[in-house]
């Protein structure tokens, strides 16, 4: 009996064709990069980069990732634990407020902090005014450094770990903690020995996701002057015009990302994290002593202000203060909406095809879903590289419409998973017997897909579509590499102003990107607060 199922699962059906095509569309850019990196031999600039720059890129990337990971854990885990387990003033607000920093991309925070912490910025000015020192009289942390980059990236990426850790702490069996205490463990020992290890796989998953995002960052690294691999890839193309070199660098970056994926897998190991509990009891949040409660509130306020409040307030201030009018932003805003809309639409269709195909267990639907989730892990610069390689083989020049189509393709290749996964989750929640019931009532496979699976998948689609749109809108490195000449998006404009040290002008586009990013983040946090196990229906 056990022999039959695998064979059936290997069957390739004609109905899997669309899923296979979707998977192919997503997988081609990364496959092209791999082939180019291995076959093209690195190009003329490769020897120069290998001998003079590669070590710096590699050390810069590894150092940034390691330090970012430390910062993220330090912000996210204590905040998640406090908010889940204890009562203190403002707790209910912080629960979702602490997710908001996800809205601002790393480069936006980098610009804001570059402005806040610069010699002429408000912090140092206030320090000098208070002490009477002059600029050379004192040491001040330099944001234009590797620790500065790690700090800024951690501020925008810690919510991934905060969310996964909080979900793990919420879903842990409260009975486990009570059992630990009945066995003589203090509250602190219960946290270190029971709650934290049980949440470790979730924390590792959130951490590897956020580090993949950190590895994909271009804008913050460029602005803060930290050489990383992604920075190197974009530069190899934009400065040297060397796709072969960029592809080589992309290969190095890919192996780094792959090791992050492997780290996440390895951290799951054989140990379980699923609770034996089938019964969910609300976490009875323990009250804190007045001093500890004040400490918890202060910590949450500090994290929120540093990660979101201060930099966004600074951007707002700068936007209002600047004499730059909305006029130069108008076309960029239009371009952004068109491009993000096109990318999101393509990704949405691919996501829908992949999600619906998952009802059938076969190699092609599995391939399509795998392709989508791998694409999500791969930096935009790498995918753009692949698109350039493919376009180089075709009789197209990278201008006008073909460049825009290539960009929408890269967005879809990178972000489809973000749209597909909520739909797959919606389908998974509905029992397979629904479709079987429809079959027993005489519905053909097509009608079952259209009238049963599709409406169910679409219940997860609003979130998916929002994420797709905003992710496309925030994308910077691929857009820089592929956009048609003079076709600026908000992200490209902000980047251009910031690198010219025109921070006041960069503030408005940066702010608009952040505001757009807030929409899905608020939507998601609202959904999360309702979807919690045990929450009233």
């Amino acid at each position: 009996m056990a022999r039959v199922a695998p064979f059936r699962n290997l069957a390739i059906r004609a109905s899997d064709g669309p899923a296979f095509l979707a998977g192919l569309v997503i997988a081609v850019p990364v496959a092209a990069t791999l082939v180019a990196g291995l076959v093209f031999g690195g190009g003329e600039a490769w020897d120069h980069i290998r001998t003079t720059l590669l070590t710096g890129y590699f050390v810069g990337t590894i150092g940034t990732l390691a330090l970012t990971a430390l910062f993220i854990l330090a912000f996210a885990v204590p905040a998640a634990w406090l908010v889940t387990m204890y009562r203190f003033p403002g707790r209910a607000i912080f629960e979702w407020l602490l997710i908001l920093p996800l809205a601002a991309p790393g480069y936006v925070l980098a610009y804001a902090y570059g402005d806040l912490m610069g010699v002429g910025g408000p912090i140092q000015s206030a320090l000098r005014a208070a002490t009477g020192w002059r600029a050379r009289d004192y040491w001040f942390p330099d944001i234009h450094s590797l620790p500065g980059l790690a700090f800024v990236l951690a501020l925008t990426l810690y919510p991934y770990v905060y969310l996964t850790a909080r979900a793990a702490f919420i879903s842990q069996s409260v009975c486990s903690l009570e059992a630990a205490r009945s066995l003589g463990a203090s509250a602190a020992r219960s946290f270190w020995r029971v709650a934290l290890p049980a949440a470790r796989p979730a924390i590792a998953a959130g951490l590897s996701l956020s580090l993949m995002e950190a590895a994909a960052d271009y804008g913050a690294a460029e602005y803060l002057g930290v050489p990383t691999l992604t920075y190197g890839i974009v530069r190899a193309w934009t400065s040297f015009g060397e796709p072969a070199t960029a592809a080589r660098l992309a290969l190095v970056l890919l192996s780094l990302v792959l090791s992050l994926v492997l780290f996440e897998r390895w951290s799951r190991g054989r140990r379980g994290s699923e609770q034996s509990s089938r019964r969910w009891r609300a976490v009875a949040r323990a009250p804190l002593s007045p001093l500890a409660a004040a400490g918890a509130t202060m910590l949450c306020i500090a994290i929120f202000l540093i990660a979101f409040g201060l930099p966004v307030a600074r951007l707002i201030w700068r936007s209002l203060e600047t004499s730059e009018t909305l006029a130069p932003i108008g076309p960029a805003l239009m371009n952004t909406l068109i491009l993000a809309g096109a990318g999101a639409a393509l990704a949405f269709v691919l996501a829908l095809v992949i999600a619906l195909s998952q009802r059938a267990a076969g190699p092609l639907p599995r391939f399509a879903r795998l392709a989508a989730s791998s694409g999500y892990a791969i930096p935009g610069a790498v995918l753009a590289m692949g698109a350039l390689v493919v376009l180089g083989l075709l009789p197209f020049t990278l201008t006008g419409a073909s460049a825009l189509i290539a960009l929408a393709w890269v967005y879809a290749s990178r972000f489809t998973a973000a749209g597909a996964e909520p739909m797959v989750a919606a389908l998974d929640r509905a029992p397979a017997s629904l479709s079987q019931a429809a079959g027993s009532l005489g519905a053909s496979p097509l009608r079952r897909a259209r009238e049963v699976d599709l409406p169910i998948a679409l219940s997860g689609a609003t979130a998916g579509a929002l994420i797709l749109f905003v992710e496309s809108l925030k994308e910077l490195p691929a857009t820089l590499m592929l956009r048609p000449f003079n076709w600026d998006t908000l992200a490209v404009r902000a980047n251009a102003y910031a690198t010219d040290e025109r921070l006041a002008a960069a503030a408005l586009p940066a702010l608009l990107i952040t505001l757009a990013g807030l929409v899905p983040v608020i939507f998601l946090s609202w959904r999360l607060s309702r979807a919690r196990p045990g929450a009233p229906e």
């Binding site: 009570e178 994290s273 034996s276 019964r279």
Partner: protein, 339 residues
């Protein structure tokens, strides 16, 4: 360190949530070496009483004592980790990241590692899990998980054991054997033990004492047989199994020997209504259905329908007529208003 077993007791304890007394003036004495079942429906306050005893929640009035030592009183709650009271949960609450052996060793942190491991291993083999000590909880069956939870609770030699519906998560075919093994091990530990359950059969089969709880109060407590055979109210009788509840005015003439007030309530267990061809009280069999070893008869006596449970051999076909009599040990009369 050996401490002579002593009783765990609650004296007049109450717990109020949002103005509602979930546990109200409850006194309960758990004797060493005896298993006391706390029986009641959902919302009766059983689990809250257990949490008060465990120190997971503070008492609003009264006190919880272990022997002469006060564990809880208003304004003072000795922390759960300082009580030496073992807990066993319905969902087992095993630590998912620790093996069976590590789970059982968890409460032995004050012992040298080797000693803790060897004690934990002994407990696992005592419960028949010697070969599974390296397995993680998700690799164990439900019954195995429950036995690990019991070994974990017993290994630190607790002063008392509290069990919250510990067997209701198990497959019915498994429940009987796991329960027997588990309760044998707990009895052998010789400490007070509380078994919270909503299953009257489980309470009667497993416990030495039974306390019946409803709406935050204990209605009756005592030896299991006493509570079953001498219930102090109609609700208590009903809590220990199905009953026929008949008001005095509806009672068919001749069914009871003595005269009773018309507003009295007569409670008769189904197995207390016995077919007897010679009895002058006549009944028609409305339906007859086999329910395992016993047959359930619905009988009509002067337009009054009652349920009778009889051995299969005594079952009568539907439509037949018979005389009936009552088993006085299983029939109870309560004055009006006393439910």
């Amino acid at each position: 360190m050996t401490i002579a077993p002593t009783s765990l007791s609650a004296h007049d304890v109450s717990r109020v949530y949002d103005g509602v007394a979930v546990v109200s003036g409850v006194s309960l004495d758990l004797q060493p070496g005896a298993i006391t079942a706390l029986l009641g429906g959902s919302g009766a306050g059983k689990s809250t009483l257990l949490r008060l005893l465990a120190g997971l929640e503070p008492v609003d009035t009264g006190k919880v004592c272990l022997g002469d030592v006060i564990l809880s009183e208003p304004g003072h709650t000795r922390a759960p980790e300082k009580r030496r009271i073992g807990l066993i949960f319905q969902d087992f609450a095993l630590f998912p990241h620790l093996t069976a052996l590590q789970n059982v060793s968890f409460g032995l942190a004050n012992l040298p590692k080797d000693e803790a491991r060897s004690i934990a291993a002994q407990w696992l083999s005592r419960l028949g899990l010697g070969a599974r000590s390296g397995a993680y909880p998700h690799e164990l069956s439900g019954g195995e998980q429950q036995r690990v939870a019991i070994a974990r609770a017993l290994a630190p030699r607790p002063a008392a054991i509290l069990m919250d519906e510990p067997f209701s998560g198990l497959d019915p075919s498994l429940r009987g054997t796991v329960r027997e093994e588990a309760l044998d091990a707990i009895r052998a530990a010789g400490v007070p033990a509380l078994l919270v359950t909503h299953d009257p059969a489980e309470a009667l089969e497993s416990a030495d004492h039974i306390a019946i709880m409803k709406s935050g109060r204990i209605l009756q407590q005592g030896k299991a047989a006493d509570v079953y055979l001498k219930p102090q109210g109609a609700d208590i009788a009903a809590a220990l199994g199905p009953v026929n509840r008949i008001s005095g005015s509806d009672l068919p003439a001749g069914l009871l020997k003595q005269a009773i007030a018309p507003d009295a309530i007569v409670v008769i267990r189904p197995e207390g209504i016995i077919p007897d061809a010679t009895s002058p009280v006549r009944a028609t069999v409305v339906s007859s259905r086999l329910t395992g070893p016993m047959a359930r008869l619905i009988l009509n006596i002067d337009d009054l329908q009652v349920t009778s449970l009889v051995p299969r051999a005594l079952a009568l076909p539907a439509g037949s007529e018979t005389g009936i009599q009552l088993d006085p040990e299983l029939s109870f009369i309560f004055p009006s208003g006393d439910s």
